[in-house]
Amino acid sequence: MSRTRSLSDIDIQMDKVIREVTFRILRYNGTGEPPTERDYTVPVKRGMTVLDGLLYIKENLDGSVSFRYSCRMGVCGSCGMIINGKPALACQTQILDLDRDVITLRPMDNYPNIKDLVPDLTNLFEKHRRIKPYIIRPDRQELDHPTREYAQSPEELEAFLQFTYCIKCGLCLSACPTVATDPQFIGPQALGQLARYMIDNRDANFDERCDLVDDVHGVWRCHFAGACTEVCPKGVDPALGAQLVKHYILKHHWFGMKKKVTQLIPETVSGTRREGIPEPPPRTVESTT
């Protein structure tokens, strides 16, 4: 007979401190002075994430440690930082999985640092904005005041769905070797999103989108190092997006590739009665209305 575990059993285990881990946090005070490392000892229980550890520090050890978070479940994309040298979401990283006595935390690379673990993501959002992350069509009236849906099959949706999972955490730009030395490079996040709108068959702006990143600091500064895909917490695969963008641009410029744009679903026709169909039997109950 298998042993059934009661809820209290699990509770006891969850409360047990399994190991003590040192959090080595790179503290930066925002004045331009060199950042300094500080150690904090955190008692770790099962299921604790790096973000939980940081919250423990903030509550019990040092209230001045700054970091960003909101959803604590890998949805909002606020808590990106470099954990043991690798860009990751603090709320998605289990401390026990890391299996280290010392966990080093520093802010994401390639973003201006505001304080401690808080980066300034403005340029991420600006780059995202540059690729026009919205559906563009000639029928403005319909877009602003929709009357019906645009036809899109499940397969057509799957063709770009992966890229829509991006949570704008910015980890990919932090890992990207090109962004590391070229601040003007459009970056993997924007390229993934550009691929998303290039593939989406509701978007009618394919030709212009091909020119959007076809410049010196555009998509051609990507060399498929794959770092972005490696760190993306949502499996968005921005590297795939960037390669698809290159491929589409080449096909467009050299072989005149055009995109098939979908239209509104046909107006629902009201039912008409066909000839020769037998009448239904008479009602047996009276309608109550």
């Binding site: 030395t181 070229d182 410049d215 051609w220 060399h223 290159k246 410029h253």
Partner: protein, 122 residues
């Protein structure tokens, strides 16, 4: 010119180089695999013989152009990504293109001059 034009040529040149440079490499540096001694391949009589051959000369010139273009474009890509190259993209392109053209000029001159020596040394 749009970046995609240059990049397209860069890739095509890379693909061609794989074949052509492969042939050149095996012929020149690995001739020992086919029983032709290394010294013999590089002796002047052999070199002059090849230089005097029109087909070889054309092959060299194509190889020279492809390799210089592919190399220059690649070096330009690296230079463009350096932190201090922001706003100097044009200058970088011109410098790299200038160096490429200079060496291309010299290579073409050498090939043609060697072609003209036909009959003198062979």
């Amino acid at each position: 010119m749009k970046e995609s034009r240059g990049w397209f040529l860069f890739m095509i040149a890379g693909l061609l180089l794989f074949v052509l440079l492969g042939a050149h490499l095996i012929g020149m540096h690995l001739s020992s695999l086919f029983g032709i001694s290394y010294e013999k391949t590089l002796s002047f009589s052999h070199v002059a013989e090849r230089s005097a051959n029109v087909a070889f000369t054309i092959f060299y010139l194509i190889l020279l152009a492809l390799a210089l273009f592919h190399g220059s474009y690649g070096v330009r890509a690296i230079l463009l990504e350096l932190p201090w190259s922001q706003g100097r993209e044009r200058i970088i392109t011109w410098i790299v293109a200038g160096i490429g053209l200079l060496f291309f000029g010299y290579g073409v001159w050498a090939a043609l001059a060697a072609l003209g020596q036909k009959g003198v040394f062979v």
